[in-house]
Every structure is written in C-alpha cells, then in structure tokens.
Amino acid sequence: MPTTIRGAKTFVDEVAAEPGGDKINECIQCGVCSGSCTTVEWWQYPPRQIIAMIRAGKRKEVLSSPSVFNCVTCYLCTVRCPRGINPTKLMHAVSAIAEREGYHPRTPTKRLFESLRNSMRRGRVWEFGMALRFYLSTNIFTGLSNLPVAWDLISRGLIPLLPPRKVKGSREVDAIMKKIQAMQKTGGQS
C-alpha cells in the first residue's frame, strides 16, 4: 500500500548539515557513482539509491543498512560525478550519522581496516598478517582461492611471512591510526 511521506525534508536537511553532505540536493540521479563503485557488490543499496532514499525520507532504512560502511574511499565516484557532489564524503556523512545512532555494522571494508590497523602495530604494514586476519574474519574460502597468487608473491619475497622490524616512532604511527578510527565516527572531523 502506498505510504504517506513524512519527514523527508528533515532527513535531507540532517544529511545536508553533516560535513560532506551539503551537496545532496544537487544530485541528478544519473547513477555514475554506482556504476563506478569498486565495492558495490557488498552494498545493499548502491550509492545513488542511498541518495534517493535519503530524499525519500527513509531514515531508518538508510541508517540501518550496512551499505555506506562499505565505501573504501577510492574516490572514483567523485572523479566522475557530473555534478561535483563528492559522493564519497556524502557516504561518510551518512555513516557518521549511523555510527552516532548506534549502528556498527561489521562490513568487509571495516574488517579490512581493522586488519590493517592490527597489522600496523610495529609501525609498518605486515601484509601477510593483514591478509590472514582479513580472510579469517570474512571468508576463509576466498582466502584459500587466492593462495596461488599469494604463493607467487611469497616465493618472490614480496610478502614476508614474518612481521617486519619495529620502526622508529611506531608508537606515533599507532596513535595516528587510533585517531583515524576515532575520526570515522564523526565523518572525518577531528
């Protein structure tokens, strides 16, 4: 049954007030963002649809969906957007609101970031540890299917199996990573 739209404008205004959300009213729904998105297969609603749903006032549906948490900030959508909207920032704005509302979906992207964070405690990335952590926390079978590639890299010494030496100032690097994690909750604002 058709529903009566209530509060559509308030949700748009809420997103527009969030840092990075200001250009939401300029979207022409062309879909180039979704067509360019590198992680779109994990999104429940592609980025264009997220914008459409915000305009339709679907607050609960948007915020409870893990979609925007899948953004890897590759900026392909931003480069191609014909209206200069910066969908990347817009999605971050939505995820910041969602985090504040208590939604913490564990999307592959978030897990990738967590794995990266955990494998950087020595101040530089330990790729093998990162991949291991990522596949263990998401899908071990994908990891296994990538073994031939991994072996090629390992046998050429491109991915050392042992963790790297601690670098000077590893504590500071760790602090930076912590700060980034904190900033995610506020949509990129420190």
């Binding site: 729904q29 879909g31 979704s34 067509g35 592609p46 649809q49 191609r80």
Partner: protein
C-alpha cells in the same frame, strides 16, 4: 534657465520593491535640489507609467527627467522615446539602475535602499548639466557579410540574396555545407540530410548575388553598423578556381593519403582534395601540411596531370577588403572530443566510437558505404549508445547539448534498419525530446524494441569476468530504475558527444567586438526578446555559435537574422550616436596624439590651422581621444567633465 527635474521610481513588480524601500527613496528624491516632483509606480515602463511622465512634463513644465528602474540596456530607449513624445529632448533624460545595481545584488533591505538613494542622487545631479543633443543618420551599405557556410549561413545568404542584395559568404573549409553535410538522416522526420542540403548549397554557389569565398577567414574588422570594413584572408588554395574544371584527375593521381576529417577520420583522402563529392565549389584544394611538394619538395604529380593548368604552387594568402552594412555570424560548433572522458575508453578501446563516426558509417556515401562495421570488419550484434558524453557534466560542459538525445534515438532507428537482428541499448539520464514530433519519434523507437537503461555508465572496459564477456566491451552501470549494478557485454559502444563552441570563438568575438558566455558561445543581446542580435549593432548571431540547437531552430534563426538585415537595408539609414566628441580648436595644441588613437579614423589634422578636427559622421563616441588629450581640448557630448563630476558628487551623498 531654471532646472525642473522629475524623478520617477519604478517598483518593477517586486523586483525592485521587494528589496528597496521605494517610499523612502521617493521621500529622499523630493529633498534633492531642483526636483519638482518625485513619484513611484508599479511598472514605469508600462503605458500608464509613461503617461505619468508625459503628463508631468506638460503640466509641471519639467525640463529634466530621471527614471530609477532597470538597466539602460532594457529601457533607456523606451523612456527616451517617452520624453521625446512629450516634447523634451531625449538626452535630457537620465536613468538610474536600481534593479541590477541595487535590488538584485543584495538581500539587505537597508543597504539596497541606501544605494538606490545614492544612484538616484547621482542621476539627479548629472541630469542637471545634461544638454539637448541631436542624433544623426548615416546610410546603410546594402551588402552583407556572412561568416560560416553551414546550413545557418547558407539559409541566411539565400534569403538576403533573393531580395536582390549582395552577400559575401565566407567559409574557412574548402567547401560550404558544414556539419549538416556530414549527417546521414535528420531526426525526427528522417529526411536525408544531403538531399535537403545540397540543393541549397548549389543555389548558394551559383546565385548571382552571393559572392562565395571558401577557404577564407576573417582577418580584420573595422567600422560600425551600416558601414563595416572587413578584411578577408583568402588562404592559398594552390588551385586556380577560375581555371579548374573540377574533373578530379589530380585527386586520383595524388600519391599522399591522409585521414579524411570529413569522414570523422574513418577513411582516407588525398593531399589534394575536395572534402566530399557534393562539395560547392566542387574544386579541390591542396592540403599544404601533407602535400609532398610542400613538405619534401618533390612530386608535383597533380600539376603534370592537370589539363586545365590550374595547379598553382606559388599561390599566397591574399587579403580581400569588402564593405558591408551588417554581419551575420554563423560559425557553428565543434563536436566534443571524448578522449578526456578516460573511463569510456575512446581512443584506447577498439569499437568505442563517436556519434559523428557512426553518422559517417551509416551514410551511404561514407567510408564504409553505409555498412556498420567493427574494427575487424564484422557486423556488430549488440550496440550500446551512451548519452550525455561531455554534456551535463561540470567536468566538461555543464549545459545540455539539446540534440544528443534525439540523434541517439535516430541512431537506434537507423541501426535497426541496417542491422535488423542487432540488440540496441541506450544509456540515458533523462530523455529530452522536446520538439515537434520528437516524443512521437521516441515512441516509435521504443516500439522497435530498443532497450533503454536509465543510468550513466561508470565505465567501459574490455576486461572480461566470465565467458560471455570475452572479446566484448563491457558497460558497467547501475540500472537506476531497479537499483542494481550490472555489466552489459556489447560489440560496439557509441558515445553521443555533445556540442561545444568553436575553439577560436573568443578570437572571432573579439574581432567583431561581441562577447562570449562562459561556455564559449556568443552572447545574444537579450536571451528572450533578442536572441539573434548582439550588443554590437549590425552584428547578428545565428545557429550553434549562439548555443547548441537543432537544424530547424538554426534555419529559423538564420531567416530571422536575414529579416533583420533586410529591414535595415530597406530603411536605408541608421541613427548614429549623438554622443560624439568635439575638439575645441582654441585649446588644441596640434599635438596629434588623438589622430592615431581613434579606432574609427574619425580625426584628421588641419594643416593650415594646425589643429585636429573630428568628423562627427565617423565618431562613435568611444572617448579614447577625450581621455588622451593633454590640453583637455576634446569634449565628449553627454559625458562632459562637469556631468561626470556632478554624478560622482551625487553618488557620494
């Protein structure tokens, strides 16, 4: 004589009254020196508004009038006429622009009101010193210059030539015809482009009143409305048109092959070439950049085979000077080059082609003889057409190019005709089919089975992810109507490229002292009410040089411009500026600085008196000499020092 000034303040509906407190401005105006009456009205430019002024002039004996309303571009002429009808000299009227200069530029009511007061006060102080002036008339040269030999230029030329007046039609390519000659069929009626264009081309080529100047460009323009002097550079064609019979032997014998620009670089042509078989004039030109004789100093084969002895390697650029009364610019457009849209792979992926390339492919006189072929010379089974390439995109052109939706639909139809079994997909954001018969054509294409996907593709790639995609181009897009990201493998992708301004549009604009908008298209005098005239009297713009448009609109504009030109010719004279400069011979020291400065060569030197003198018939009142004169001997009528000082004083209330 006592000055009696009337001040009239316009509300312009809510345009001015919405921001400026008109009542306060009226109160203020009443306090100014010599102001006899100050009134306000909803629309001063309307009939009752004008009558108000006329009545006051008669009843109160006003001898100066100030109207505070919009820009002089809008209504200066209107109010000058009104005061003239009431028996006052039109130059005893002054306009204060409180709309564009006050009401529209701020939302601060108090600031707007204050500025409106300052502008009114400036105008009142200025008008006090204004003097009656008489406008003069000069004869109009009945010849017309048309720049650009596309459909717009041809149409305008024929209309004017038919009336018995002389037309110079200047085209920079070797043949007239323009982009329309490249098209196969035209939407929505599917008229054959060549069939409707070539008769007009031939007519233009043979008309006794049209002097065709192909392979030529505008070098220099001087003069003013009614009396332009234009220098045209006839580029060295290396072929003597008076001797050449157009037999075409030279083109068959020439050993040098170069990309054929007319065929969108799909086919080859020779270094000596006529752009296309129906060219007018159907005589070749030598492309000196590629000709072996000009690049390496050998060959001269064309000369050996030319029976008419028409080949002339020694030919040089030649400057021809013509005098015309008015100018029509019909310089057209350029097709957007999609190479910078990297994600669509043009130039990088085979079988991603532009709309113009397809246009030449479907043309039966094109490089493939009307066959749609992939790079491997096979026919495609599936074709994707991508709309809005280069248009509606702030990274390239923000505007909508207007014609792409319709020509893309036309492609769908033509491809269906050529390849009945092919799958055809259109990727669109919005279908813009606003025009007579356009929506009906859209319906027809829908019925024919073209599949429409709403979504601007993110990327076109040749990286296959599965067997079905191997050897194909994959369009990555979101079907935005169902919200799903999809991959569509196709054999061929057509990029519907937008229209953009000519690269040298700004240069042309400077030559004719007109202006270009931000997108590079020429700016019209008024976007609604005067779309073909420019701010320079006697210079008109028609067709795509003014903005993207389709053929019917272009033709309509061309005819409209022709009517405007013919109106000027039949009137036979134009009013010139009364605001000319005069030299006070008592003060002139005869230094002659002004003589060379004058862009209209209006100043001459009187030897025996040792002073300079201005020919008022030539003076346009630009003021260059006035500012330059070291002895302040030159006075500009209507812009005297005392008028300007009074205006400044008034503005500083």
């Amino acid at each position: 004589m006592d000055r009696k000034i009337g001040v009239y303040i316009c509300h312009c509906g809510s345009n001015i009254a919405g921001t400026v407190d008109v009542g306060k401005v009226v109160e203020f105006a009443r306090t100014l020196d010599s102001v006899v009456v100050a009134r306000e009205y909803k629309f001063m430019c309307s009939d009752p508004g004008q009558s108000l002024i006329k009545q006051d002039i008669k009843e109160l004996g006003l001898n100066r009038v100030v109207v505070a309303s919009c820009s002089p571009h809008m209504h200066e002429a209107t109010f000058r006429r009104a005061v003239q009808e009431a028996g006052l000299n039109p130059y005893l009227y002054e306009m204060a622009n409180i709309r564009e200069h006050a009401a529209w530029v701020t939302v601060d009511h108090d600031a707007a009101t204050e500025k409106a007061k300052a502008l009114v006060s400036a105008a009142v102080k200025r008008v006090y010193y204004q003097e009656p002036l008489e406008a003069r008339e000069v004869p109009v040269n009945p010849a017309t210059l048309i720049v650009g030999g596309g459909i717009a230029g041809i149409q305008a030329a024929l209309e004017i030539a038919e009336s018995g007046n002389m037309v110079y039609l200047v085209e920079r390519e070797a043949s007239i015809g323009g982009h329309m000659a490249q098209l196969d069929k035209t939407f929505p009626t599917l008229d054959c482009s060549a069939c409707i264009l070539t008769p007009k081309m031939t007519q233009a080529g043979s008309h006794p009143n049209i002097k065709l100047m192909t392979y030529s460009e505008i070098a220099e323009v001087s003069g003013f409305v009614g009396n332009f002097k234009v220098k045209i550079r006839k580029k060295a064609r290396s072929v003597d048109l008076s001797k050449c019979t157009g037999c075409g032997v030279c083109q068959t014998k020439c050993p040098t092959k170069v990309n054929n620009i007319f065929d969108a670089n799909l086919g080859k042509r020779k270094a000596i070439y006529t752009p296309f078989p129906q060219a007018v004039p159907n005589k070749p030109a030598i492309d000196r950049e590629h000709c072996l004789w000009f690049t390496q100093g050998k060959c001269r084969v064309c000369e050996k085979f030319c029976e008419a002895k028409a080949i002339d390697y020694e030919q040089k650029d030649e400057i021809v000077e013509v005098e015309v009364g008015s100018v029509i610019l019909a310089t057209g457009y350029r097709v957007f080059d999609p190479t910078p849209v990297y994600q669509y792979g043009y130039g990088r992926l085979d079988n991603v082609i532009t709309s113009m390339e397809l246009e030449r492919m479907v043309s039966s006189s094109g490089p493939t003889g009307g066959q749609i072929l992939l790079k491997n010379t096979k026919e495609p089974h599936s074709i994707a057409i991508v709309h809005c390439v280069g248009s509606r995109d702030i990274n390239f052109h923000e505007y909508c190019s207007r014609v792409c939706c319709m020509y893309s639909l036309k492609f769908s139809h033509l491809l269906r005709e050529h390849l009945p079994k092919a799958e055809i997909y259109e990727f669109y954001i919005d279908i813009r089919s606003a025009g007579k018969g356009f929506e009906e054509f859209y319906n027809r294409v829908l019925k024919e089975g073209t599949i429409f996907y709403r979504g601007r593709p993110g990327e076109i790639t040749d990286v296959a992810e599965n067997k079905d995609e191997e050897g194909k181009l994959i369009v990555k897009f979101e079907n935005s109507l169902i919200g799903e990201r999809e991959r569509l493998p196709v054999d061929m992708v057509i990029l519907s490229c937008g229209l953009e301004a000519q690269t040298d549009a700004l240069e042309v604009a400077r030559k004719f002292t007109i202006s270009c908008g931000s997108a590079g298209f020429f700016t019209e005098r008024h976007p609604k009410l005067d779309p073909i005239a420019t701010m320079t009297d006697g210079v008109f713009i028609v067709g795509c040089c003014q903005g993207p448009k389709d053929i019917p609109d272009t033709v309509a504009q061309a005819s409209a411009a022709a009517a405007r030109v013919l109106a000027m010719i039949s009137k036979g004279k134009v009013a010139t500026e009364a605001t000319t400069a005069v030299i006070d011979e008592e003060k002139c020291s005869g230094c002659r600085i002004c003589n060379n400065l004058c862009p209209y060569t209006a100043i001459s030197f009187i030897e025996d008196k040792h002073v300079s003198r201005i020919n008022e018939a030539l003076c346009k009142g630009c003021g260059a000499c006035v500012a330059a004169c070291p002895s302040a001997a030159i006075k500009q009528k209507h812009f005297t020092s005392e008028q300007i000082m009074a205006e400044i004083e008034g503005a500083l209330v």
